[in-house]
């Protein structure tokens, strides 16, 4: 891997940018690998990267149906935070946060992780109780968090509507200063480039059509590019987990839903942080390019269509104007939708399965992007060691049978 740096930019400019190497190869699949990762999104590529770097497993293929990073990695609102309520979730997300903090340097690819802080607003007395509870739990878990008053919010965030006469007045917020946003596409590309450099084969346009088993164990996959063998298969295909599970005869506690988002036209800086609201459902940040990046809600129905209903967008625009009346004249440039797979407890599954050698990483719902490095790190451990790391042990499939759910629905602030 040739190193990226300001120097390399200048040097290459002098040769008219004709000497840049490809960021990752496009190899043909080998007949057999030690590990196959199904799904070339951020989580899959991160898994491959950490298999190679943390566990020395380099004979790995990442199989991607379309183009890498083309699923939810390329369709999210780029928020990264770790201030979850329950210890299990917050420690997993905090692991991810710590990886984010050095990710550009680790990957030698600028993922533009911008720690501009995330505010989770409270609009009712119960919201504020939940915020106190969560912030206190975060601090005890060593995660930076603080409760800020409406007055502090008004000072820190220009133009936000802190009027007590608002329909749902802002009473306060939690603030995680280390949280922020990252450049979504760069995460997939950075992991791909770094994994490729360590020997991982990234194979695009290769759709898995079947999971081959012998007895109770996997032997490989059927793909549109032929049979590929491997004793261990990690499936990490946000949105389509149930479809892959069905290929292995498994049923999952997951439903896939459309989740939408939109951006405004680029504006001069107006919002310098990330603001999320649960009661007034919407969340907003401003990209480095100047676009306001705004997340909408999940559509209620099951959907694999990568699009949702327009009234969901309308509701979100209303919410944004409620929070920022000055944005009423700003214009939506582009909207899109992704597919999120949602677990009953709004927490992911990073788990072994009843099929030997088959591992699933799914159910991230709206929280997947921020977890990318941590998810890959934990999944790599689970696959390499054939047992979960203690960080992801609570996120096994068994919890749905025992009842040990980690319910992030309740007080965990707006999910995503």
């Amino acid at each position: 891997m040739r190193k990226y740096s300001a120097f390399s930019l200048v040097r290459n400019a002098l040769s008219h940018n004709r000497k840049w190497r490809e960021a990752w190869r496009s190899p043909d699949p080998k007949p057999e690998y030690d590990v196959i990762i199904v799904g070339g999104g951020g989580h899959g590529l991160a898994t491959a990267y950490y298999l190679a770097t943390e566990h020395g497993v380099r004979n790995v293929a990442v199989l991607e149906k379309g183009w890498i990073g083309g699923g939810n990695t390329g369709r999210n609102t780029t928020i990264v935070r770790s201030n979850y309520l329950w210890t299990e979730a917050s420690l997993l997300y905090e692991k991810s946060m710590q990886l984010w903090e050095g990710l550009s340097q680790d990957l030698n690819y600028n993922v533009m992780f911008s720690q501009r802080g995330v505010y989770n607003l409270g609009h009712t007395l119960q919201d504020m109780r939940d915020i106190e509870r969560r912030v206190n739990a975060n601090r005890l878990n060593g995660i930076d968090a603080e409760v800020v008053s409406a007055e502090q919010i008004g000072k820190a965030i220009p133009f936000i509507n802190t009027s007590p006469d608002a329909r749902y007045p802002i009473l306060g917020a939690s603030l995680q200063r280390r949280a922020g946003v990252a450049r979504h596409d760069a995460v997939a590309w950075g992991f791909a480039r770094a994994a490729d450099a360590r020997g991982v084969d990234i194979i695009e346009q290769c759709e898995v059509t079947g999971i081959n088993r012998d007895g109770g164990k996997v032997t490989g996959v059927e793909t549109t590019r032929g049979v590929i063998k491997a004793p261990r298969i990690g499936v990490v295909v946000a949105g389509n987990a149930s479809v892959l599970a069905a290929m292995a005869g498994l049923r999952l506690p997951i439903e896939s839903h459309p989740l939408q988002a939109f951006v405004s036209e680029p504006l001069k800086p107006v919002i310098d942080t990330v603001i999320m609201s649960n009661a007034v459902h919407g969340y907003i940040s401003q990209s480095d390019k100047g676009e306001l990046v705004i997340g909408a809600g999940i559509d209620a129905y099951n959907g694999y269509g990568q699009r949702g209903s327009f009234q969901t967008i309308e509701h979100t625009m209303q919410a944004i104007i409620e929070l920022f009346p000055v944005l009423s004249r700003v214009r939506m440039l582009r909207q899109w939708g992704g597919i999120v797979d949602v677990c009953p407890d709004a927490c992911p599954i990073i788990s072994k399965t009843p099929v030997g050698g088959l591992f699933f990483n799914c159910g991230w719902g709206t929280g997947g992007f921020k977890a990318t490095p941590g998810s890959g790190w934990a999944f790599a451990h689970t696959i390499a060691e054939d047992r979960p790391h203690e960080l992801n042990a609570p996120f096994d499939l068994e919890r749905f049978t025992t009842g040990a759910l980690i319910d992030e629905h309740g007080a965990a602030a707006v999910a995503h």
Partner: protein, 999 residues
């Protein structure tokens, strides 16, 4: 003084001069101008700067495709960022500023970026700014400051917006010749038709056209057609209305701009309107965009689309240049050359095709226009404005390099690389786009919804074809809705044969793209041919990767100009065909729409309904601050004489405990459940034994989700053998009724039970305290209220003070209390009556806060505050409510391994030894004061108050294994303080035997 304005012609009104400002300079235009045409008329060439390299840019297009002239229009609260000058109708007093360039677009200090263009190659930011790690936020600050176009207003939007739902048989998107023909055909057939066009006038390409339709000039045909449409009651005409999104099940969204074109002082009423249209059939007729050509320095001000040049001449009587070079690979730009010649400009046509044009070529020759066939424009001379072009012969050889070139002086380059149908809405609708190898463009393919494309958005560029397709598609759409259109004879048009277009995706230069000046594909994002090639070199080969890596098509024009050329360059690099490279998905919005119009009227006070009880106005008059509970406004407390919350609540609590309090509990959910199977049904829902309840009895009931977690609670009463009255929490009312109905209808339809919501029918007035019985007796009650006649947890119908009521002897405070359920029509009078009667007892109205304190003193939980979706009834110590004799929803889940753990978090009370600190709600609890991070937590405080009647703080908490830990000490982890020891107690602090409510 408008130097480029032609003396005659155009659709402008020269009798109405308008004054406007651009970047502080004052100009004059005419009614009928766009800001772009007025700027061109005044000879303004630089209207903006590019995003990254800050190169000077001029107006390129004439409409939605314009990438450069991005303006800030208006000031203050009325400011509107990022409008395209090509779409802004001129009005008197208009103030516009360029959005790029500092201090301005004409002189921009950022222009230095251009000198480092090679360093700022595609994706350069991914490769640098990584060291030192801590500096990223500094780098980012610089990047952010230089990004963005306009500014969001800093004042609240004074305008209002509205939604309008509409239904029609046929929606026609686009009012050019095809759309008009379609609307006319469908309208005359009798179908309900809506015709929307983004411009102020219908007509599209025919506006200002100097040709005949039938035996009349085009504009005459337009006038007659629009008149015919306007005369039809079943046709709705929507000018200034953009169909910006096509969603599932033929739902389309249209943004109508009602007042933006008026001087600010004349604007009144709705600014913009969102039409939410459900159409049975849709005819898409949005036309086509002309493609630019990718040659060196093709972004210099003065390089324009040929069709835009024609548009400015014909429609606005503006001549964009005096000495023009028309550079084309097809016949259509010859019309532009003719327009220019007629406008008095000198023109040279550079045609890449060795054979030149068809009959239009002859017309050009007759007009004295010289045509240089088999040549291409390779480069542009001039920096702030076109001064000339380099032209070289080209054999059509795809090796693409050219040799010696000649210079032609000019001040305008009108380019045409052919046409791209506007397939956007077809694409939104889920339709595929297919490559038409003959016409070299993507055309709409198979559709998934009830829509059809007609005219140039279908790849049909001739006027004759547009009229024919429009008519046919309008007839067909109407026919599918059951309306038959009369046959009409289509007007004839005079169009000759055209020579085919020669694909020319990248114009050869005298060096490869990396070495020659930039050949731009996406003007706004400064994406050049070399950038695409670089992306491919670096392995970004999928079209989506290329777009994301180079930002091709991510500008505010969303790639309307540059996408196809970019894809073709990509295809060339990969050695593939364009359709193999693939198309990209177009997503709404077709052109940007304001958040305000998306939100409509549901903002401010109307953002969400405020539900009010029948007694609400009394609470307001009494000065009570309101608490949001669900959609309800409930009085929080009733301050007297500037009391704060705590003082008021202490007073209210004491009143209720010692004499008499009164509370509006009307927001509780209320459900009438009756039928032969009602007991059987409720047995399955509630955890306790319902069947053994006697008529007239009340019971506290909880319901669980199937996961065993507490979902809702409330008092339920048996008011008849087959009739129950159920109450729910305020927030849970709607959900509980829906939940009950779902079980009745989907799982147990054999059960004969009717459920009816009575939440709004009955208001509930809680009369609480030792004097509550006396006040009711004083009012005159038709039943005996003594302990034996009307015992605790019973219900009676009665007449109270002359009002029919349902009287409950229940208590959420632990005191002797009655709940008066009364027809809401009388509730306010009843409230006032009780208040008057209670005066002698010092009756004290109280709100939600006091209610919370009183119930917490008694250890009564609030679902949603003391529970969070992970709490079972066993955790709450409610085992006594769980029937062993029957199944009920959620029962099985309680037997799962995790639910039978004895170290689950359980409801307990907490007391602090110092008897002074009110623990903040949400405080986490820990076992030891000094555990290292991450500190294990054993629970948290759910409710916490100063108890006025006990004289010390109390708290409820969920604590791991808490019930077995009475009297143990654990620690409250208070932020910024030493952990505070607290003692675990039973959750009931006051009157643990419940004697006070039984009196």
């Amino acid at each position: 003084m408008q130097p480029q304005r032609l003396p005659t012609g155009g659709r402008i009104d020269r009798s109405k001069p308008l004054i406007f400002r651009f970047d502080g300079r004052k100009f004059e235009g005419y009614a009928g101008d766009t800001l772009a045409s007025a700027l061109l008329a005044n000879g303004v060439s630089i209207v903006g700067r590019s995003f990254k390299l800050r190169r000077p840019r001029g107006i390129v297009g004439g409409g939605a495709e314009e990438p450069n002239a991005i303006m800030q229009i208006g000031k203050g609260a009325h400011a509107q960022p990022n409008l395209r000058a090509t779409q802004v109708e001129l009005y008197d007093g208009l103030v516009a500023r360029a959005t790029k360039g500092w201090p301005g677009a004409r002189f921009d200090l950022g222009a230095i970026n251009d000198a480092f263009g090679k360093v700022f190659s595609a994706g350069f930011y991914y490769k640098t700014f990584m060291r030192p790690k801590s500096w990223w936020h500094l780098y980012e600050r610089v990047i952010r400051a230089s990004a963005g176009f306009g500014r969001a207003p800093v004042e609240k939007d004074p305008d209002h917006y509205e939604h309008r739902n509409a239904h029609c048989d046929v929606l026609v998107a686009g009012g050019g010749p095809a759309g008009l023909a379609a609307a006319l055909a469908a309208g005359q057939a009798g179908a309900r038709v809506m015709l929307a066009d983004e411009q102020n006038e219908f007509g599209g390409s025919l506006l200002g056209a100097k040709r005949n339709v039938g035996d009349a000039p085009a504009e005459e045909w337009l006038r007659r057609t629009i008149e015919s449409l306007a005369a039809l009651d079943n046709v709705t005409l929507l000018p200034r209305s953009t169909v910006f999104g096509y969603y599932d099940h033929n739902f389309l969204a249209i943004a109508e701009r009602c007042t933006d074109h008026l001087p600010e002082a004349d604007r009144a009423g709705v600014r913009q309107r969102l039409w939410r249209v459900r159409a049975k059939q849709v005819v898409l007729a949005q036309g086509a965009f002309e493609r630019p050509l990718a040659f060196c320095n093709n972004d210099r001000p003065g390089v324009m689309l040929a069709s835009a040049v024609s548009q400015y001449i014909r429609r606005y009587a503006v001549r964009p240049g005096r000495r023009a070079v028309v550079f084309t690979n097809n016949d259509s730009a010859y019309e532009t050359a003719l327009d220019l010649a007629e406008a008095g400009s000198s023109v040279v046509i550079v045609d890449s095709r060795a054979g030149g044009a068809g009959p239009l070529g002859e017309r050009a020759a007759q007009a004295g226009i010289s045509v240089i066939a088999g040549h291409v424009v390779t480069d542009v001379v001039g920096r702030r404005r076109v001064r000339g072009v380099q032209v070289a012969g080209w054999s059509g050889n795809p090796a693409y390099l050219v040799e010696s070139s000649i210079r032609i002086d000019c001040d305008l380059v009108a380019m045409s690389g052919g046409w791209s149908p506007a397939v956007h809405l077809h694409s939104h609708a889920g339709g595929r786009n297919v490559w038409d190898a003959e016409r070299h463009c993507f055309v709409p393919g198979e559709t998934t919804q009830a829509n059809v494309s007609a005219g140039s958005c279908n790849g049909t560029l001739s006027l004759r074809g547009c009229l024919r397709e429009g008519n046919e598609s309008g007839r067909a759409a109407a026919s599918r809705c059951g309306f038959e259109a009369p046959d009409i004879e289509l007007p004839s048009t005079s169009e000759g044969h055209e020579n085919p277009l020669q694909p020319l995706w990248r114009v050869p230069a005298d060096a490869e793209p990396e070495r020659c000046p930039k050949q731009f594909l996406d003007y706004q994002n400064d994406t050049s041919v070399a950038d695409i090639r670089l992306a491919v070199r670096e392995g970004y080969r999928n079209v989506e990767h290329v777009k994301r890596y180079t930002a091709l098509g991510f500008g505010t024009d969303q790639g309307k100009l540059g996408n196809i050329n970019g894809m073709a360059v990509l295809a060339e690099c990969l050695g593939k065909s364009i359709p193999e490279v693939g198309t990209t998905t177009f997503r709404p919005a077709y052109t940007p729409v304001t958040f305000g119009v998306g939100a409509g009227e549901n903002v401010g006070d109307l953002y969400d309904p405020v539900r009010k009880t029948a007694i609400h106005e009394w609470h307001v008059a009494a000065g009570a601050p309101m608490e949001n509970v669900g959609q309800w406004h409930r009085p929080w407390y009733f301050p007297r004489d500037n009391e704060d919350l705590h003082t008021a609540v202490a007073r209210e609590c004491q009143a209720a405990r010692q004499s008499l309090g009164i509370m509006d509990a009307s927001t509780l959910g209320k459900i009438d459940a009756r039928g032969p199977d009602v007991v059987d049904f409720l047995e399955r829902i509630y955890t306790h034994n319902v069947g053994t309840m006697k008529v007239g009895r009340c019971a506290y009931g909880i319901m669980l989700g199937e996961d065993g977690m507490v979902m809702d609670d409330g008092v339920m009463a048996r008011v008849g053998e087959q009739r129950f009255y159920l109450t729910t929490t305020t927030g849970g009312a709607a959900n509980v009724l829906a939940w009950l109905e779902s079980w009745l209808q989907t799982e147990w339809p054999e059960l004969e039970v009717f459920l009816t919501s009575l939440t709004d029918q009955f208001s509930t007035i809680a009369v609480v305290g030792p004097n509550s019985r006396r006040v009711l007796e004083k009012l005159g009650c038709s039943i005996d209220l003594d302990k034996d006649s009307f015992p605790f947890m019973t219900v009676r119908d009665a007449e109270l003070g002359g009002y029919p009521v349902q009287l409950f002897r229940v208590s959420f405070s632990g005191e002797l209390a009655f709940e008066i359920n009364i027809d809401s029509s009388y509730a306010l009078q009843m409230w006032k009556t009780v208040m008057a009667a209670g005066e002698e007892f010092g009756i004290t109205p109280y709100g939600t806060e006091t209610m919370h304190v009183l119930r917490a003193e008694k250890g009564f939980v609030i679902v949603g505050q003391d529970t969070d979706g992970s709490v079972t009834p066993v955790d709450l110590g409610m085992n006594w409510l769980l029937s062993k004799d029957k199944d009920f929803l959620g029962k099985r889940s309680l037997a799962r391994p995790d639910c039978v753990r004895d170290d689950r978090k359980q409801l307990v009370g907490l007391l602090s030894p110092d008897n002074g600190t009110v623990l903040p709600e949400g405080t986490q609890l820990v076992e030891t004061p000094d555990a290292p991070v991450p500190v294990p937590m054993c629970g948290h405080v759910t409710s916490s108050y100063m108890s006025a009647c006990l004289g010390h703080p109390i708290a409820l908490a969920l604590v791991a294994g808490g019930r077995a830990r009475k009297a143990e000490t654990i620690y409250a982890a208070l932020p910024g303080r030493e952990p505070m020891p607290v003692t675990v107690t039973a959750p009931v602090f006051y009157d643990p035997k419940g004697e006070r409510q039984h009196v």
